[in-house]
């Protein structure tokens, strides 16, 4: 019997900081289950938040990593094992985690543990743990003094804020003055292993430390000099509206209803709205009160008046890892607080302008945290650093008796800031830093959310290597501070490099990318000893990064890094998700922090971009209808545009906006229509689908099998297990009768959230010390098989319009990774054109299908976004062609059913048959099924069975959604998730389809009515007719996919689009094709769909399993 409680409750850090993994490694299944019982009992009673949360993470980790491994080693998959109950799954969807856990545990007590149940429990515990933590952060944000009153206020008459009198003083021309806030962004010098995550700072305040610098920024080669990159502008209006404008996102709106202020995702003004709310102008407590916004504004600004708030970030691209958006939020909140007298230099007591006091900065921070929560995002606690001046040490604060956190968490929500004085870090050191450091944006934009979750989990589990890494990171911080004090930038560079190489990557291997490694290597090659080091700026590398050089070469390095990044991006742009062209920044340390001034008279002008956005609409109106202040502003602007040099370009911009140039449809030179033609687009079929969609004959609801279909789990005789026919397989391999087909036509929509890169080319993980692409991993397996059998194994990668060119060039560039067997690409011969979805399908997907409810505030944001997207679909025209994007994002592949027929049509199979007339067996698998290889035993079994197709299935885990192996009306077949008439049916199925298929070529051809002679002869008419004949028997599914649209400076919007597809597994429904099903181990059959899976995949032995199948050289 092992007890894990001391790891949580012991007062002795040596015991408490022991790793869970070490304690579990030696335990048996029974011991683990007993330990889980004890932990579960403990967490239900535990009063201390962090003890409870740690117990939850322990439980989650045991069920995710330790139990499955022990169950696996206990023997082959037991098909009598408990399945995941649908009721528990539903409870998970509705975030009723406690109930879900009880449901799963009750079943486990009755039927014993299973791999599936363990996965469900792991998920439930994991999410309950994060929910508990997030709830606590939220409670703390609300209970910060200075934030509480805003949650009590529910009526305009209760609004205690009043506009500062100086903002009501009109100029001689009738215009109101403008309050402008200029805010730097923050650079994180130490990273400290993500110790700025709230969950860490609130449990381990002693370890939460960062050094962060406020900087002004400019894009090198574009801007004349670095400026505070973030600005917020506010003035009074003569109309009772809230006018919000984001200059960078080109969005402006006049808000007249209170409800709209809380509608975050309706437009691109969510951040401004969050600031208006978090600053107390429209306090959170008034949401849903049904009161009038005009009344509320009347209390603050006066009857009939309103407020205009404008944000601007000087075109600094998104994903810079400089916390631009959090600092913009801080800037907006600060300007709103100053305007309503909430800063201490206020209310007749001082000036509304200038810097903020420390007390004011802290309240801006508290409000920014509130704003982040409202907007459903969540920056780290150091991110408002730009509000503070210069270089500062930000540290976690242990909770004391007077804090609301006392007794709940060890640390406070809000950190404390120590701004280093000139005595501590001399001016010369600051200059030296600026003389050596080149700050860049590499162009990649990635979601760091999963990384932050991984870090939290690993911290709470005290995983051995990671815990050492964390302690190591703290010593790096000391080194950085010491180097800064001495002005020794070379030592600083050594420290930040070590930080990146050691602690950061020990904790999260995924923090580095192949791209980053390339940049570091190339910088080293170009500058030798004058390249002093690398500096990771934020959650993950690839976006904002720092490169440190000897000062005498900095100017040269800026130019060179731009070249290196651009060239490397060009090489990798199809493999990694780049959001924009890389840029080099100019920057300067900002010693003021956020700063406000009051612009009056001729200076009372908004930022230039504001006018590019608003003037065209204004000049179209009758001048006499404009309010007095607007007319005065236009006059001032007109005069300024003629005389001020900084507004020189604006006249041209305005001209362009008023008389737009004709928009060219093409991108990369090839127009969409040509691309469609080249890729086998079938316009007649497209129009038919459009009409069917519009008429409601097809759609998401119509994908389903008839409601009276009887869906049952398969019987024992319907599946087989590996049965030792290895010799037959080995013989076939030796004889050269086998080839591998890897499906690589997809753009990995889940992998990169619709970024449209080739998943196959993504260097997703390190094996044998290097980042390897999916293609390389698959070839390495075939290399091993070839060597074992002594016959080179032909390997085919299927491609599509989106992936063919890049894959071909990539393989040429890496010389096929030295693969010696035949290697072919099979280009796709079918393509579809995406359509704007119908509102009916969107509603079906979002309202009728079981949905994962999000956290309360995020759910609100999501609902607002979905309402906006339904509005978009209706206004853009339901089922109209989706062409408002680059051509490659407007087209879609039409499903993997076509991949094998494509081989018949595009000559690849003919070539294979010519090279290897004896070819008879094909292994078909997905690009993300990394464990699939030509296993001789499974091959032999397929050969012996005499079936046309053998499908590999695996036991089901919670994440394996989307159909499975079922008896449909008494006949075993694979059923797609889309076709399941009832959601709960899927949960009665023991096996999930891995998509890996063994094919008897002759039998398959005969199902098409073809022979291998037809293929070799290349009779196009006959082959096409044969394919069309079988395709007609296959169901067509309508699906919604998310596609990214990129715009502006690294901005991305995600749209749902409709496309259709035919799926390979449906072949099992055809009686003329004999299909069999074999149960394979999970490690062989599981798929890697989402980058968030990577860490677990590495930890649970999957990566090691894949590595064992590979030979890299």
């Amino acid at each position: 019997m092992i007890s894990l409680l001391p790891l949580i409750t012991s007062a002795d850090p040596a015991v408490r900081d022991q790793s869970l993994d070490a304690s579990c490694r030696v335990a048996s299944v029974a011991e683990l289950l007993a330990a889980c019982d004890e932990l579960d009992g403990f967490r239900r009673k535990a009063e201390n938040l962090y003890e409870r949360v740690r117990a939850l993470f322990f439980l989650s980790a045991i069920h995710r990593f330790h139990l499955p491994e022990k169950l696996r080693s206990g023997g082959p998959s037991d098909r009598s094992a408990a399945l995941i109950p649908f009721r528990g799954y539903e409870q998970l969807l509705h975030r009723r985690f406690e109930e879900a856990i009880d449901t799963f545990l009750a079943l486990q007590a009755g039927q014993g543990p299973s791999d599936g149940l363990a996965s469900a429990l792991a998920n439930a515990y994991h999410r309950l743990a994060f929910q508990t933590l997030a709830d606590q952060v939220r409670r703390s944000v609300r209970s910060v003094r200075g934030n509480q009153w805003m949650f009590r206020m529910g009526h305009p008459a209760d609004q205690p804020l009043r506009i500062r009198p100086e903002l009501l003083r009109r100029g001689a021309d009738g215009a109101y003055p403008i309050l402008r806030e200029l805010t730097p962004v923050r650079m994180d010098l130490t990273h400290s292993a993500w110790s700025d995550i709230f969950f860490l700072g609130m449990d381990f305040p002693e370890g939460a430390k960062v050094v962060n610098v406020s900087v002004d920024l400019g894009v090198h080669g574009r801007d004349a000099r670095p400026r505070p990159p973030v600005s917020a502008w506010l003035r009074v209006l003569d109309e009772p509206v809230l006018r919000l404008t984001s200059v960078d996102l080109g969005a402006t709106a006049d808000i007249t209803a209170l409800g709209e202020v809380f509608d975050f995702a309706k437009d691109h003004l969510g951040l401004l709205k969050a600031a208006v709310i978090a600053s107390g102008i429209v306090p959170p407590g008034i949401e849903g009160s049904g009161q009038s916004l005009a009344d509320l504004l009347a209390h603050i600004v006066g009857p009939g008046r309103g407020l205009e708030i404008v944000s601007c970030v000087n075109d600094i691209p998104k994903g810079s890892r400089l916390a631009v958006s959090t600092n913009l939020l801080g800037s907006l909140i600060s300007v709103c607080m100053r305007a309503t007298g909430q800063t201490t230099g206020s209310a007749d007591k001082g000036d509304v302008t200038g810097p903020l006091s420390e007390a004011d900065r802290r309240i801006v921070l508290a409000r920014a945290l509130l704003g982040e929560w409202l907007g459903g995002s969540g920056g780290g606690w150091q991110d408002s650093g730009g509000v503070w001046p210069g270089i500062k040490l930000i540290t976690g604060v242990p909770a004391s008796e007077s804090d609301p956190e006392w007794g709940i968490s060890r640390g406070c929500l809000m950190p404390s800031h120590h701004v280093f004085s000139a005595d501590e870090i001399p001016e010369s050191a600051r200059q030296a830093l600026q003389d050596s450091l080149v700050v860049v944006h590499g162009g990649m934009a990635q979601n760091v959310g999963p990384i932050l979750e991984m870090v939290t989990e690993k911290y709470l589990l005290r995983s051995e290597a990671e815990w050492i890494g964390r302690k190591d990171a703290l010593t790096v911080l000391d080194e950085v501070i010491s180097a800064l004090r001495r002005g020794d930038i070379r030592a600083l560079a050594a420290a930040t490099t070590r930080n990146f190489r050691r602690p950061i990557q020990t904790i999260i291997p995924w923090a580095s990318t192949f791209y980053t490694e390339q940049l570091i290597a190339k910088a080293g090659a170009a500058f030798g000893d004058d390249f002093w080091g690398f500096w990771m700026l934020g959650g993950m590398s690839g976006g904002g990064m720092g490169f440190i050089f000897a000062p005498h070469r900095k100017v040269e390095a800026q130019a060179r890094m731009q070249e290196i990044m651009s060239a490397t991006k060009r090489e990798l742009q199809h493999a990694l998700p780049f959001a924009m062209e890389p840029v080099v920044f100019d920057y300067a340390i900002n010693e003021h922090g956020t700063w406000a001034d009051l612009l009056a008279g001729d200076d009372a002008l908004m930022p230039p971009g504001y006018y590019a956005l608003t003037v065209p609409a204004l000049v179209r109106q009758d001048r006499r209808e404009l309010p007095l202040a607007r007319r005065a502003e236009l006059d001032t602007f007109g005069a300024a545009a003629r005389t001020r040099p900084e507004l020189r370009g604006l006249v041209q911009t305005l001209f362009d906006v008023l008389l737009p140039r004709g928009r060219s449809e093409s991108a990369g030179g090839v127009p969409l229509a040509d691309l469609l033609d080249q890729n086998g687009f079938d316009r007649a079929q497209h129009e038919q689908i459009r009409e069917d969609l519009r008429e409601g004959r097809i759609g998401l609801a119509q994908n389903r099998l008839r409601a009276d279909a009887i869906i049952e789990d398969v019987r024992p005789e319907d599946v087989s297990f590996e049965d030792g026919a290895r010799e037959a397989g080995e013989a076939a391999l030796r004889a050269g009768e086998v080839a591998v087909i890897t499906l690589a036509a997809g753009a990995g929509s889940r992998w990169t959230q619709g970024a449209g890169v080739c998943k196959a080319l993504h260097p997703f993980a390190k094996f044998s010390g290097r980042h390897r692409t999916f293609i390389e991993a698959h070839l390495a397996k075939s290399r091993r098989t070839s060597r074992a059998s002594g016959t080179p194994l032909p390997h085919v990668f299927t491609t599509s319009y989106a992936t063919h060119g890049p894959t071909e060039r990539f393989l040429a560039a890496v010389d096929n990774y030295g693969y010696q067997g035949p290697l072919h690409l099979s280009p796709g011969k079918n393509v579809g054109l995406r359509m704007v979805p119908t509102a009916r399908d969107l509603r079906f997907a979002w309202e009728e299908m079981p949905q994962q409810r999000l956290d309360e505030q995020q759910q609100k944001v999501r609902e607002s976004l979905r309402a906006a997207l339904i509005g978009w679909a209706t206004s853009a025209g339901e089922a109209s062609d989706y062409t408002d994007n680059v051509p490659l994002q407007s087209m879609h592949p039409v499903g993997h059913w076509y991949e094998v027929p494509n081989l018949f049509r595009n000559g690849v199979l003919a070539r294979l048959l010519t090279e290897r007339p004896q070819l008879r067996w094909l292994l078909l698998h997905n690009i993300d099924t990394l464990g699939a290889d030509v296993d001789p035993a499974l091959l032999g079994q397929h050969i012996r069975s005499g079936a046309a197709l053998t499908f590999e299935v695996i036991t089901r885990r919670l994440e394996d959604r989307g159909g499975g192996l079922a008896r449909v009306n008494g006949r075993p077949r694979l059923v797609e998730g889309l076709a399941m008439p009832r959601e709960e049916d899927e949960f009665r199925l023991s096996y999930y389809n891995s998509m890996t298929t063994w094919i008897d070529l002759d039998r398959l051809l005969s199902a098409f009515g073809l022979t291998r002679e037809d293929i070799v002869a290349g009779d196009a008419v006959k082959i096409t007719a044969a394919i069309r004949g079988l395709a007609a028997k296959m169901p067509t599914y309508v699906t919604l996919k998310e596609v990214k649209k990129r715009w502006g400076h690294g901005q991305e919007d995600i749209f749902p689009v409709t496309q259709f597809e035919k799926l390979w597994g449906d072949l099992t429904a055809l009686p003329e094709i004999e299909s069999r099903f074999v149960v394979v181990p999970r490690l062989r059959g599981q798929q890697l769909k989402d980058q968030a899976q990577l860490d677990g995949w590495l930890r649970d032995g999957s990566a090691a399993y894949v590595e064992s199948l590979c030979e890299w050289e």
Binding site: G146, Q148, W149, R152, D158, P160, A347, A359
Partner: protein
């Protein structure tokens, strides 16, 4: 502390005619608001009253004071430079003595036998320090008042030791600096318009007036400094105040006086009749 002097300010911009309004007092006699305020002070043991007025208002105020005119010293505030400045104008009048400070547009109705001013003066006499009357006020009214942050004086109900004074704080500031345990959520102790102050306040105000160099001066700033210099208490009195300058303020004050006085039945009867006759 032997308190003999009171200062009433009546020089505010919108305030100058308010003390001249006539009302029926609790004793059923028609008087000016000024006379009612003066009587409140006299009932507390005050012997001399200084009234701070705008230049030219003396005749009207002398008439409004009625029988008490003899006890009055008029002090003129030449320029409207804020409440603090108005009080500072009476420095010669108070001449180093502690004084009761009232405003000309507030009337008080006590809910115990002693008048509000008397309650305050007796407390100041027993504690020998400055005392301000305060009342728990909802945060939405913060833009109208000065507010105090304090600690409770142990063992005494409604008595506080002042630590901070802020003029018209925002709720954000109030929540961070002025929360007093035991009050309802969102309520703060705001000034009641009645103080007993030591001569130190006059000294502080004189300093502020000089430092301001012609700009406005708040009493709250001086009181904030007072709290740092000497013991300064705040108390919740048994009674209510009525601001006759607010919308319907005069009417409300009149009703409050009438319902608390000899004519209660008559006024109530009149109100009931009014309500009964209302058709819409």
């Amino acid at each position: 502390m032997n308190l003999k002097k009171a200062v009433i300010t009546a020089a505010g911009k919108n305030q100058r005619t308010l003390p001249l309004q006539s009302l029926v007092d609790t004793d059923g006699v028609t008087k000016t608001a000024l006379a009612i305020i003066i009587e409140e002070a006299l009932a507390a043991g005050v012997e001399e009253v200084g009234i701070v007025i705008q230049p030219g208002d003396q005749t009207a105020y002398a008439a409004a004071a009625g029988p008490h005119a003899a006890r009055i010293t008029f002090v003129e505030q030449a320029e409207p430079l804020g409440y603090g400045h108005a009080v500072a104008c009476a420095r010669n009048f108070t001449a180093g003595a502690p004084f009761l400070l009232l405003v000309g547009d507030h009337l008080y109705v006590n809910s115990e036998a002693r008048g509000c001013a008397r309650q305050l003066v007796e407390l100041a006499a027993s504690t020998s320090c400055s005392v301000s009357a305060v009342q728990a006020t909802h945060e939405s009214k913060l833009p109208y008042y000065g507010a105090v942050g304090c600690k409770r004086v142990p063992g005494q109900t409604g008595l506080y030791e002042v630590t901070e004074v802020l003029e018209k704080p925002t709720p954000t500031e109030a929540e961070q600096r002025l929360v007093v345990p035991g009050l309802r959520a969102g309520h703060y102790l705001c000034f009641f318009g009645m103080h007993v102050l030591t001569s130190t306040v006059m000294d502080l105000l004189a300093g502020s007036v000089e430092a301001a160099g012609g700009k406005g001066v708040h009493l709250s700033d001086a009181l904030a400094k007072l709290a740092k210099k000497e013991r300064y208490l705040a108390t919740e009195l048994k009674g209510r105040r009525y601001d006759i300058g607010a919308k319907y303020g005069l009417l409300t004050a009149q009703l409050a006086l009438a319902l608390a006085g000899d004519d209660r039945d008559e006024v109530l009867g009149g109100l009931v009749e009014l309500l009964a006759q209302r058709t819409r």
